[in-house]
Amino acid sequence: MSLIADAFTLVFVAAGIAFFAAGTLGLVRLPQTLSRIHALTKADNVGLALIVLGLLPQAANVLEGAKMVAVWLLAQLASGAVAQVMAEAVMAETKATKDAAPPEEGHP
């Protein structure tokens, strides 16, 4: 039983790490900020999900497992919302530079 659980963990965590690595590669190599954000959020969310899933059999009790799932859910929520906010900021910035207006910094 524990052997199966360990194998399950090993496979899923390894897969999760692969996704994280891919996301990081995207962050480093992709040319545009928007595509970077895309790569990072998508790949990392899947990666985190796989790692949490892989670790679930190792949880000592139900509460601990529930905490791990909660961590994943909160990360989902935060990364999704933050990615959108950042994307909007990037769009606004590119628009501002296109209009050739000096970017507004600080408060009026």
């Binding site: 929520l77 919302a81 906010v85 507004e104």
Partner: protein, 310 residues
């Protein structure tokens, strides 16, 4: 195996620190610093200091990061930097490496077995009815330090407020952003803030017996408050508000009041009434958590912008 992990962690930590100090531009340096803070938190977990790890991540990396990022935005894009002396960097490198090497030698020479107060704390802790020894040291054995450090926190807010254009420190802090909050921010604030407040309260409640406590909880609560401000869910409070001032004073002066009460009940300043130690300690923790949360939040928001003219 764990030694390999520690070694890798140390190397990444160092790389992060080097990244912070060698990156020329302000924004990447601050972002690298935030990442460095998270890694440092991991190092604290490896050193069996979970309380410190929580504090480091919440305050040392999280709230400090927000303060620094705000600073980057408020500074002019091209800071007026004189061309650094050619010789400066190699010279500085030599000095720093010498210092690091000397310190490393000192660390290696620390005595074995290491002196420790762990046994004293273990002997005295049962009398306080607490399960978390760090909370015991902070709130009972070295309560004077903690009380005065609350005053330091209050004083740093006074220092920030003293930079207001209004000498009487009135009005609300300038908004975090001149534009209305984007929809995802508002959504995040509405959904995440209640959960975050719950987490903060849990950290406070757990702190008596498990890792956690007033600082960690206060930092999480402050972060949730800031999230609500960023999401336009609440307005920044006015600095002259009597209620706000009371919240700021609750922690340090509540603690001080308990200290004086200890004089009456336990016969010594900052003592706790025999038999009711834990209840009183938790009451103190609640008061200082509230003050920490409000103070941290206000420090991030910055000096009040002066009295509003209707």
């Amino acid at each position: 195996m764990s030694l390999v992990f520690d070694a890798v962690l140390c190397l990444v930590l160092l790389a992060g620190a080097l990244g912070v100090v060698t990156t020329g531009a302000a924004r990447p340096a601050v972002i690298a610093f935030i990442g460095y803070g998270l890694l440092l938190g991991l190092a604290w977990v490896r050193l069996a200091a979970v309380d410190v790890a929580l504090t480091e991540i919440a305050i040392g990396s999280g709230i400090s990061g927000v303060v620094l990022l705000r600073c980057v935005r408020a500074l002019p894009a091209e800071p007026l930097t004189p061309a650094p002396n050619r010789m400066l960097k190699p010279l500085a490198a030599v000095v720093s490496i010498t210092i690091a090497a000397a310190l490393a030698a000192v660390v290696l020479a620390l005595p074995e077995p290491a002196p420790s107060r762990a046994a004293d704390v273990a002997a005295a802790l049962p009398a306080t009815d607490l399960g978390n020894p760090v909370t015991g040291v902070l709130l009972v054995f070295r309560a004077l330090d903690t009380l005065l450090e609350k005053v330091v926190l209050l004083l740093s807010l006074v220092g920030v407020w003293a930079l207001s254009r209004d000498p009487a420190c009135r009005g609300r802090p300038a908004p975090l952003s001149p534009e209305p909050a984007p929809a995802p921010s508002a959504f995040l604030a509405r959904v995440l803030a209640p959960i975050g407040v719950l987490v903060g309260l849990y950290l406070l409640w757990a702190g008596a017996d498990h890792p956690g406590g007033a600082f960690q909880s206060g930092a999480v609560l402050a972060a949730m408050g800031l999230l609500l401000v960023m999401g336009d869910q609440i307005r920044t409070p006015a600095a002259e508000s009597r209620g706000l001032r009371l919240l700021l004073l609750a922690g340090p002066f509540g603690f001080l009041a308990v200290g004086f009460a200890g004089w009456a009940t336990a016969g010594v300043f900052l003592g706790y009434p025999p038999g009711a130690e834990k209840a009183v300690i938790i009451a103190v923790e609640v008061a200082i958590t509230v003050s920490i949360a409000v103070t941290l939040g206000l420090i991030v928001l910055g000096p009040p912008a002066g009295e509003e003219r209707p």
